[in-house]
């Protein structure tokens, strides 16, 4: 139970922070206004996030270098679904960018369309990942390669999920007339940046875990 508490509170704090800085367009009531640094703050946060992934990548490389056979027999990765997934995720970065371009031209409808498509693509990615997990034939505890594989892809999947929530949040908020415009779209930009980040991490992850393992 405490475990759950720790996890949930950590997650909440992360998500809350995202939500807080992404969606909160009403200014903080009790404080003098200052220029909007949220994008800068997000970038700083993502630098930090990438170091966490770097920790996992380092772990993977360390274990790979010290292992006799890599990956151990019976735990080869499957390539078809992940490749399709990669194509989808990488192209979704372009799609979300078109959404950002659209809002800069004050076209909320087009932005909503592109963001909705991105959300669908993200969902397909997650579904593909779950399908992959179900069909691989080995689990988290099989061996040290499987440990790394599930932990790293799972952790990335969690980030995709958070990104998805951000996009859905943008869509939810954009229902309100005039909530986003050509001059007021920090939340949209931040969701986009986060999505690109998730994408870049996936490219490194895919190269390390899938391509170089073959």
């Amino acid at each position: 139970m405490l475990l759950c508490f720790g996890f949930i509170s950590t997650l909440l704090s992360n998500c809350h922070m995202q939500e807080d800085s992404t969606f909160n367009s009403s200014e903080v009531i009790s404080h003098a206004e200052h220029p909007d640094f949220r994008v800068f703050g997000l970038l700083t946060f993502l630098v930090s996030e990438s170091l966490m992934f770097a920790g996992f990548f380092a772990t993977y490389l360390f274990l790979r270098e010290t292992a006799k056979i890599w990956p151990p027999e019976g735990t080869e990765v499957e390539l078809l679904v992940p490749t399709i997934n990669t194509v989808i995720l990488v192209s979704s970065s372009f799609v979300i960018h078109w959404g950002d371009t659209a809002i800069k031209k004050n076209n909320v409808a087009a932005m909503r369309l592109w963001y909705a498509i991105t959300a669908v693509m993200g969902t397909i990615f997650l579904a593909g990942q779950i399908y992959e997990y179900l069909t691989l034939g080995y689990g988290l505890t099989t061996n040290v390669f499987a440990n790394c594989f599930y932990l790293m892809t799972g952790f990335h999947g969690l980030h995709v999920f958070v990104g998805l929530l951000l996009i859905l949040g943008v869509l939810w908020r954009s229902r309100r007339l005039g909530h986003y415009s050509a001059t007021k779209h920090t939340g949209i930009t931040m969701a986009e940046i986060y999505w690109h980040f998730v994408d870049i991490i996936w490219i490194v992850l895919f190269t390390l875990l899938y391509v170089l393992t073959r």
Binding site: T44, M52, A54, F62
Partner: protein, 550 residues
């Protein structure tokens, strides 16, 4: 430093119906004012300091005799683990970065608040549950493996408690990352426009370097701890050698954070030193730029020294060589700072206030601790004294004689600003004398113990070490007693102390241009910077003598 000739017109608190001052219960809420958050951090940290200190006294009482006759050895292990963890993660780091950083940074740069006030409050409120989790782990036996939590020990002992320990650290780590992010954005973006980069107070440079370090290293620890958590609870084997894992991997991940954590604990203190010394020596700080850049240099080099904790872990020779050299290089920017402060003191009109006494005390202690660090950083010597009391003596000199003295100096210096009242100088001096004597008495003999071969982390030891251990325990009792005048003084002065003027020390940095305690949103009209923060007696001889209250 400032004049208000051409004030910048911005909204002030009164325009938006904010309360004039906070009530006592506001300090127990999700308040977004940086000053409230700073005080919340400080008070919480001091509470944990007391708890951690009592643990230390209990351990030293056990170590008075060679046999484990006072505490159960398992309980001793739990105390040892949680003493280290509490003192590092819930005392020094939150007090130095969270407490002083939050309270001072916006005031020093002329801002009304931090860049992300809500995020700031979230970062603070992760700390109390983390501390509760850590203390609750005692109900499950307490984590047994020391604050480093090296596997396989941490995998085989007290699993529930160890998991709670991990989650607690992850919570504090999250808090630290969010706080650091806030500092980076605040310092880089929110300086009052009239302040040049070369007029940025050195404390801000130090906090900037600290935050970059925290942002880059903390997530790696989190990664390592998540792996450990999975190993303990979900059957993975990252650190289980019999199943293809590697224990040295954990050490790399752990020390990639935990060595920089040393600088997380000392860099803000260096910042406090750079603020306190010139004010009380009435001289411009010697080598402003050198001190500012040395913070950044420590930040960068500090990321490349972690393996010096692992010289005995079977590291290859080239690694020992590389990390010995990089470790010794860190001594250079640190030396730059030390010499800067000494040169500032040289020929100054030194006022021996409590704050200044602690700052000078820190200087002497840190030199001893730093020299011990140089010896330990060289692989050939480290191989002999690794995991002995020499190490314990060394890091207590830098952490107690360094960080804790710095926090005390900061408290005595900024207490009037924080509370609006002065602390009793007489009790401050008694506090200093007891602490100074206690520190040397406790930690200096530990170096001897280590050289003679007494291992650290043990409840029982060879009787030949008993006499020196008596001395250490006696010192620990003095140290324990030394906290009493401080806490009484702080609590009493907060209520009944002499009312402080806006600028009781005649200092030139911006925080002294507003009232004591500062109003909500800090200034009615933002100050304009007209001279450097440490121009005591330099350009204008009178400037040091005239209170710069705007």
């Amino acid at each position: 430093m400032t004049q208000l000739e051409t004030p910048q017109v911005t909204d002030s608190a009164t325009d938006r119906n904010l309360p004039k001052v906070w009530k006592w219960y506001d300090y127990f809420t999700f308040n977004t004012d940086h000053k409230v958050i700073g005080i919340q951090y400080l008070v919480t940290a001091f509470a944990f300091y007391l708890i951690g200190g009592l643990m230390a006294v209990a351990m030293r009482a056990e170590l008075y005799t060679p046999d484990a006759d006072l505490l159960d050895p398992n309980f001793y292990n739990a105390l040892m683990t949680n003493h280290g963890t509490l003192m590092i993660f819930l005392w020094i780091v939150p007090a130095a970065i969270g407490g002083f950083g939050n309270f001072l940074v916006p005031l020093l740069i002329g801002a009304r608040d931090m860049a992300f006030p809500k995020l700031n409050a979230i970062a603070f409120w992760l700390n109390p549950p983390a501390g509760a989790l850590l203390l609750a782990s005692f109900l499950f036996g307490g984590a047994q493996s020391g604050w480093t939590a090296y596997p396989p020990l941490s995998l085989t002992t007290a699993n529930t408690a160890q998991s709670m320990w991990i989650l607690s650290i992850v919570l504090v780590g999250t808090s630290s990352i969010l706080g650091a992010l806030n500092f980076v954005v605040t310092i880089l973006k929110m300086k009052v426009p009239s302040m040049k980069w070369t007029q940025l107070p050195l404390f801000c440079w130090a906090i900037l370097a600290t935050s970059v370090l925290a942002l880059l290293s903390t997530p790696v620890l989190a990664a390592g701890l998540v792996l450990l958590l999975f190993d303990i609870n979900f059957g993975t084997s990252f650190f289980k050698p019999d199943a293809g894992g590697n224990v040295v991997l954990y050490q790399h991940l752990f020390w990639f954070y935990s060595h920089p954590a040393v600088y997380l604990m000392i860099l803000p203190i260096f910042g406090i030193m750079s603020e306190v010394i010139p004010v009380h020596a009435r001289k411009p700080i010697f080598g402003y730029k050198a001190i500012a850049y040395s913070s950044l240099a420590i930040c960068i080099v500090g990321l490349f020294v972690w393996v010096h904790h692992m010289f005995t872990s079977g590291t290859p020779a080239w690694m020992r060589m590389f990390f010995t050299i990089s470790t010794l290089i860190v001594a250079v920017p640190t030396g730059v700072k030390i010499f800067g402060w000494v040169a500032t003191l040289w020929g100054g009109k030194i006022r021996f206030t409590s704050a200044m006494l602690f700052a000078i005390g820190l200087l002497s202690m840190f030199v001893v601790g730093g020299l011990g660090g140089v010896t330990l950083g060289t692989a050939p010597f480290d191989l002999h004294v690794h995991d002995t009391y020499y190490v314990v003596g060394h890091f207590h000199y830098v952490l107690f004689g360094g960080s804790v003295f710095g926090i005390y100096a900061g408290i005595y210096h900024w207490f009037p600003k924080i509370t609006g009242r002065m602390m009793s100088e007489m009790w401050g001096k008694i506090h200093f004398a007891l602490t100074f004597i206690g520190t040397h008495l406790t930690f200096l003999p530990m170096h001897l113990l280590g050289l003679q071969g007494m291992p650290r982390r043990v409840a029982m030891y060879d009787p030949q070490f008993a006499p020196i251990n008596h001395l250490c325990t006696f010192g620990a009792i003095v140290l324990g007693i030394s906290a009493i005048p401080f806490f009484l003084n702080a609590v009493w002065s907060w209520h009944y102390g002499v009312k402080a003027s806006d600028n009781p020390w005649d200092a030139l940095t911006l925080e002294w241009t507003t009232s004591s305690p500062p109003p909500i949103e800090n200034w009615v009209e933002l100050p304009v910077v007209t001279c450097g923060p440490y121009d005591y007696g330099s350009r204008d001889r009178n400037i040091a003598e005239i209170p710069q209250t705007a």
